[in-house]
């Protein structure tokens, strides 16, 4: 890679061991992908739940923090959800060891100057990037939303790489930082426009499976009205989860595709997606009628989703646990608006600053006897199979009904 004078100084250790180590890691990744040089970034976002880090990752962070200063990060550097909501940890059945590891990771990040936002919806709650802004975001849902809906430039930056980008203020210029990589590689024509969040998520999952890998960029035609932010949140998060997709375009909706022709040539491979495909994906997860737990998470809920959920909870009394997970930025507003109280009055729980699958999902399933899980998140059903759950995808309404009756009625 071509290095600037400042980058050569960092590499030589003139700015300290922390930044030297960060740049060494970035060069290793950049050279793997053939990056010509670095590009400055304005924000970094780190996925770093301790289930992923483990003891080894936390020890590594603590080693960095020992040499760090509060101003170690050069650009605003924020965090994805943590592995717990400390105030709800006992209800989840999390152990003291899990919480201790979380506290150590938080302390290390704070020593490095990282701001603990603990959110995977920073584009709704902290600061959405703007078109052509180069950023280093972790969490695939954040990246695909920022690339596609905002028109920002980011690759998937895993925790160590996002932290490195925050420390050095730059990232290797490859992948979706390059304009030519952002053109569509396949066309998807949909013959209907979803309305519910689970249908949007399922459509994202279907398209993600078709796209199939990180470098595929679908352009989607046939969406009849501008989707809402929450709809695109579920759509993109599921597409990224099922397909490892990082960028899509919707003709007439997303900023780089005023028309499909802006991003796509006529000879691209085309696929049709029908309502039946979206129904089929959801039905493939319907393996039971009984439900042990209902979860709304992945991505964290917006204030509007909590508003809808609160309305559905009125007059109910839940017989199985219902968990709704939001960000630390949204939770105080939900409290003030009375949404939290209405959900909890029905027996539900509103958690903050974590995400269900990033919170020791296997261990909390074993601690609570949770196996059959209902959710409206397509991303969550895709992930949880590997954690020993039998996840089922349904509308928010059907999931709330399941929490009250213990049975998921399919519509």
């Amino acid at each position: 890679m071509r290095l600037s004078g400042e980058e050569q100084d960092i590499l030589a250790g003139k700015q300290g061991a922390v930044h030297q180590q960060a740049l060494q890691h970035q060069i290793k990744v950049g050279e793997f992908f053939g990056a010509a040089d670095f590009v400055p970034v304005t924000q970094a976002h780190i996925m770093a739940d301790t289930e992923s880090l483990g003891e080894a990752g936390v020890l590594w962070l603590e080693g960095l923090a020992a040499d760090a200063r509060k101003d170690s990060v050069r650009v605003p550097t924020i965090t994805d959800p943590r592995g717990t909501d400390f105030s709800k940890a006992s209800m989840l059945g999390q152990t003291a060891a899990m919480l201790d590891l979380e506290r150590r990771a938080i302390a290390a990040f704070e020593k490095l100057g990282v701001t603990m936002t603990d959110t995977c919806i920073n584009y709704q709650t902290i600061q959405a990037p703007v078109r052509n802004e180069h950023v280093a975001f972790g969490d695939t849902g954040v990246v695909i939303y920022s690339n596609s809906v905002c028109g920002a430039f980011s690759n998937f930056e895993g925790g160590p790489s996002a932290l490195a980008a925050g420390l050095t203020g730059r990232t290797p210029r490859y992948g979706f930082h390059l304009a030519e990589q952002r053109r569509a590689t396949l066309r998807i024509h949909v013959d209907f426009s979803p309305r519910s969040l689970n249908d949007w998520g399922a459509l994202g999952g279907v398209i993600g499976r078709i796209a199939g890998n990180y470098w595929a960029v679908p352009v989607i035609e046939g969406i009849d009205a501008p989707p809402l932010s929450d709809q695109l949140k579920h759509f993109g998060a599921a597409m990224a989860s099922f397909g490892s997709t990082a960028l899509y375009h919707i003709a007439g909706v997303t900023p780089e595709a005023y028309r499909a022709a802006d991003v796509a040539s006529d000879d691209l491979p085309g696929h049709r997606v029908a309502r039946g495909d979206v129904i089929a994906l959801q039905k493939s997860y319907h393996t039971d009628t009984g439900v042990d737990v209902v979860v709304f998470s992945a991505p964290q809920l917006s204030l509007y989703e909590l508003r809808d959920l609160a309305s559905l909870c009125d007059g109910r009394r839940f017989m199985v646990p219902l968990l709704a997970v939001t960000s630390p930025q949204v939770k105080p507003d939900a409290d003030r608006a009375g949404y939290t109280a209405r959900i909890e009055h029905a027996g539900g729980h509103v958690l903050s600053g974590m995400c269900f699958y990033q919170s020791y999902a296997r261990e909390i399933a074993e601690a609570n006897g949770w196996k059959r899980l209902a959710t409206n998140s397509a991303k969550l059903v895709n992930i949880l199979g590997g954690y020993g759950y039998r996840p089922m995808l349904a509308s928010m309404e059907a999931c709330v009904e399941a929490a009250a009756s213990g049975e998921l009625r399919l519509t």
């Binding site: 290793k28 990744v29 793997f32 992923s52 080894a56 397909g243 992930i383």
Partner: protein, 135 residues
């Protein structure tokens, strides 16, 4: 000896037994990282141990957690010996760099069809090659 050349490579030279499938790879989605086996029921390697194997798979799947997890798995010795894929996403490359796991990606053939399951393979990242050295 059959040799295949990768466009992208990193890490140290290793030799081991190939575990091959036409399926994807995500440490969070697909693995029981405590038991060291593929745990996603629909994965073609479900129930099989990945520990010490050269995993030969199609593409990187899923989220960003693999970037941390290979390092954590390596610290316990419950980790693949190397990863060989038709295509990767940045996360797998970042995770391999952080976890010090040899990685090859990008071939002129479908590498999951070219390498027989159970064969002995030698990986040389500096030369960008994987060689079949035994059946």
């Amino acid at each position: 000896m059959t040799v295949f050349r990768a466009r992208h490579a990193m890490g140290r030279e290793v030799q081991g037994i190939a575990l091959v499938a036409q399926d994807g790879f995500s440490a969070r989605y697909d693995l029981d990282r405590t038991g060291g086996v593929f745990s996603r029921p629909t994965h073609k390697l479900a129930g099989q141990s990945y520990v010490g194997k050269v995993l030969v798979l199609d593409t990187a799947k899923g989220g960003v957690a693999t970037a941390w997890m290979l390092h954590e798995m390596a610290s316990r010795g419950i980790v693949p010996l190397a990863l060989v894929l038709n295509s990767v996403n940045p996360i797998l490359a970042q995770g391999a760099a952080f976890g010090n796991v040899p990685l090859l990606a990008g071939f002129d053939v479908d590498i999951t069809r070219a390498i027989p399951d159970g064969s002995t393979v030698a990986i040389d990242p500096d030369a960008h090659t994987i060689n079949i050295v035994g059946g």
